[in-house]
């Protein structure tokens, strides 16, 4: 199977309700992460790097920041004569709370696309995966459906996680929805990336609608009986963001060289909307330890275990530890912040003190003035 025969189909609002503050003014897909990225950059880059030329992003609400970020798709090389990025707002003004009706609502777009296969994908997963391997796996096994999974602990935000019982040859024996998830117990967690033939997808969606079966997870569960369902393991680094804590933990994971080397593989770069920021400037009074810092920043204070996004200013005498600071925020002089997630364009005035905790980082909303 050639990857240019695959349509990418990303849900922009995966688990929006699990990160309510971060996603209050935007979709999950456009949540800022890792200093200069938005969540969807990873999936769009994966698709683009794997030769997928046509990507649709299903958006339900609050998608202005998403549109602003992905634009025409040119940052991902998805805006060419033979490649395309389309944002799919609710068709006919109708929104649905289940995937079956949502996908059916987009049938006009899906059927119009010339690709034979669809890769459905969530927007809350940070990973660097070569989908051409998945396509090869799918064709080699003559699979009808391939579910991509990771083996690991299921993040706490997944209320109805899908786990898989897999035979030696990779075929899925059984699909479990919402299994008992013991803490610190590894599961084969299918996080929502699915490769399927387009016609089969639409046929199953229509059948499901006629049976009034609106739960896509049940649909996947039932498909094991009638179809060749295979499971492909994503063995790489894979963070599924399902809570503020997951979000925090992922950002902190970036301090590990192994994680950075894997996620930001120069052969499969992660693309993002370009901003012309100057290199970051460290002043004479700066003290920075174990931190990720994007361009366009001016750092005059002390920063430790932080992810600092584009265009952030950290004043003299400021002490930041364990913070995630999003773009263009200004942190005044002699401030003291610990375990704080600070959204875009926030102003922390001189001398302020904010303390969260390891297990409960506090969140400061976009454009706030503290």
């Amino acid at each position: 199977m050639r990857s240019n025969n695959v349509l990418g189909f990303i849900f922009a609002e995966t688990l929006d309700d699990k990160i309510p503050e971060l996603a209050s003014s935007r979709t999950t897909a456009s949540v800022p992460i890792g200093g200069k990225y938005r969540l969807i950059d990873f999936e769009l880059s994966n698709m683009s790097n794997s030769g997928i030329n046509n990507v649709g992003i299903v958006a339900k609400s609050n998608y202005q920041s998403l549109m602003d970020h992905v634009g025409s798709g040119s940052a991902y090389d998805l805006s060419k004569r033979r490649s395309n990025l389309t944002i799919l707002p609710p068709y006919g003004g109708k929104t649905f709370s289940n995937y079956v009706e949502t996908i059916y609502n987009m049938h006009g777009y899906i059927e119009h696309c010339r690709e034979e296969y669809v890769l459905i994908s969530p927007s809350n997963v940070v990973t660097n995966i070569d989908y051409t391997d998945v396509f090869d796996f799918h064709s080699k096994n003559q699979a009808d459906i391939t579910l991509i999974y990771r083996n690991g602990i299921i993040p706490s935000g997944y209320d109805r996680a899908i786990t898989l019982d897999i035979a030696k040859d990779g075929r899925v024996n059984q699909v479990f929805v919402k299994p008992e998830i013991g803490e610190n117990f590894n599961h084969n967690h299918a996080y929502g990336a699915i490769l399927i033939k387009k016609d089969l997808l639409m046929q199953e969606i229509r059948n499901a609608l006629s049976r009034n079966q609106l739960d896509i997870k049940r649909l996947i569960q039932d498909s094991v009986d009638g179809f060749r369902v295979f499971a492909y393991e994503n063995t790489g680094y894979c963070a599924a963001i399902s809570s503020n804590n997951d979000y925090f933990a992922f950002n902190m994971d970036l301090m590990k060289k192994a994680v950075r080397d894997e996620l930001f593989n120069p052969l499969r770069p992660i693309y993002t909307k370009v901003r012309d920021d100057a290199p970051s400037r460290y002043g004479l009074t700066s003290k920075v330890k174990n931190s990720i810092i994007a361009q366009g920043c001016v750092i005059d204070g002390e920063v430790e275990n932080c992810v600092i996004s584009k265009g952030v200013y950290v004043g003299k005498g400021a002490k930041l530890s364990n913070c995630i600071v999003m773009q263009d925020t200004k942190i005044g002089c002699n401030t003291n912040l610990n375990y704080v997630i600070i959204d875009k364009d926030v102003t922390i005035k001189d001398g302020r003190s904010l303390m969260g905790f390891d297990s409960y980082p506090i969140y400061i909303a976009k454009k706030s003035v503290v």
Partner: protein, 403 residues
């Protein structure tokens, strides 16, 4: 048909820039990296775009590959539109023969066709080796107001340095009456910045005349401008205030980079556009110490930085110390290496505990010390010592005992 443009900019980017030594051995001078993520040409190009100039011709001749690739379709500078564009103009073969560009004026003369396509009123001539931010519109307004044939931007330089520059002597109203190239006893401190605005009709006439003149070196400064002056054309000096620096030598290139770290210097990098490497934000490790430095995306810093400019994708190993240096993209500085007052070109590896350059004992005595330059794709071995002021070639390997 190409729509008319009031102004066309022509950027002279063909010179060898031999005074930059190994840095321009395989690279045209305007493509030399600057300021942590830029190349020199980003400054005049961004100035053009920010001044609303939509047609830019870049005259290339010497080692144009990297420069051509970098300019590409002009997208980073918004010069890829329906009504805007940038073109790299190399010497070409025509019916009546083929010639290299024999001088700055000749380069423009050979591209009269390019300029005429836009049917412009004015032509801006720029150099590709200056660092400054300028609104050419203001200069153009001045040019129109004075009804000049030619306007030359000038900057006030200290009297003791004036003999290094081309000095323009003017009447009180700014009209030029004399050119004084590197005068021993300067009469004024108005140094030419190498930025000219011409009314196109006049320029075309003088370029054509110059081309048929025997013995002409076809240079703006030496031939065309003096010819215009002696013919009595109205020529004015436009005073520019702000940061401007010629970065044609190793010392001045180093100084201009260091100026970015000086809070007293007025140059900011806002609205300077460039191609951006697709790299993640940089990482500063626990043991790193960074003071007064610029760091770009994709770097991993485990060592110490002081007064330095670090380009994208650079790795600074543990206990390595970088002081007052410029480290270009992709360089790896291994553990314990010590780089001082140096420029290290792209993708070079500095081995463990190597010593590159040295901090001068007395910085004020400018004749007594110099910058060490390490070429691109070079490997400096473990414990090697590279003396101050030396220049190491591109693509070489230097082991410890070789010096």
């Amino acid at each position: 048909m190409v729509p008319k443009k009031e102004v066309v900019a022509m950027l002279l980017a063909g010179g060898q820039g031999s005074r930059l030594g190994v840095l321009t051995q395989k690279l045209a001078k305007p493509a030399v990296p600057f300021g942590g993520k830029y190349r020199i040409i980003d400054f005049p190009l961004s100035n053009c775009v920010n001044s609303g100039i939509e047609a830019v011709g870049i005259l290339t001749q010497y080692q144009p590959l990297i420069l051509n690739e970098y300019i590409g379709n002009g997208q980073p500078w918004d010069l890829d539109g329906m009504h805007s564009g940038v073109n790299c103009l190399s010497p070409y073969q025509a019916v009546d023969g083929a010639d290299w560009y024999s001088g700055t004026a000749n380069a423009i003369y050979q591209n009269i066709n390019y300029i005429e396509r836009y049917n412009p009123e004015y032509v801006v001539i720029l150099s590709g080796d200056h660092i400054y931010k300028m609104d050419y519109n203001k200069m153009l307004d001045f040019h129109k107001e004075k009804n000049a044939a030619c306007t030359i931007a000038v900057i006030d330089v200290p009297l003791e340095e004036a003999s290094r520059f081309g000095i323009l002597n003017t009447y009180e109203n700014g009209e030029i009456y004399e050119f004084d190239e590197k005068p021993e006893h300067p009469k004024s401190t108005n140094a030419s910045m190498g930025i000219y605005i011409f009314s196109w009709k006049e320029l075309k006439k003088y370029l054509t005349e110059d081309d048929s003149k025997d013995g002409s070196s076809h240079d703006f400064g030496k031939d065309v401008l003096p010819a215009m002056l002696s013919a009595g054309e109205k020529m004015f000096a436009y005073p520019f205030e702000g940061y401007w620096k010629d970065v044609g030598t190793i010392d001045s290139l180093w100084e201009a980079n260091m100026d970015l770290l000086d809070p007293k210097v007025t140059l900011d990098l806002k609205d300077i556009y460039s191609r951006n490497p697709m790299m993640p934000p940089h990482y500063i490790a626990d043991e790193a110490v960074i003071q007064n430095s610029l760091v770009a995306d994709g770097c991993n810093v485990y060592g110490n930085l002081e007064f330095s400019i670090i380009f994208s994708g650079v790795t600074i190993g543990k206990n390595a110390t970088i002081n007052s240096s410029i480290i270009m993209p992709g360089v790896v500085i291994e553990e314990g290496a010590n780089v001082q007052f140096a420029i290290v070109a792209e993708n070079t590896v500095i081995g463990k505990n190597a010593q590159i350059g040295k901090k001068p004992e007395d910085v004020s005595d400018r004749n007594d010390w110099g910058i060490t330059v390490i070429g691109a794709n070079t490997k400096i071995g473990e414990n090697a010592v590279i003396e101050p002021k030396t220049m190491i070639d591109n693509d070489t390997e230097v082991m410890a005992n070789e010096k």
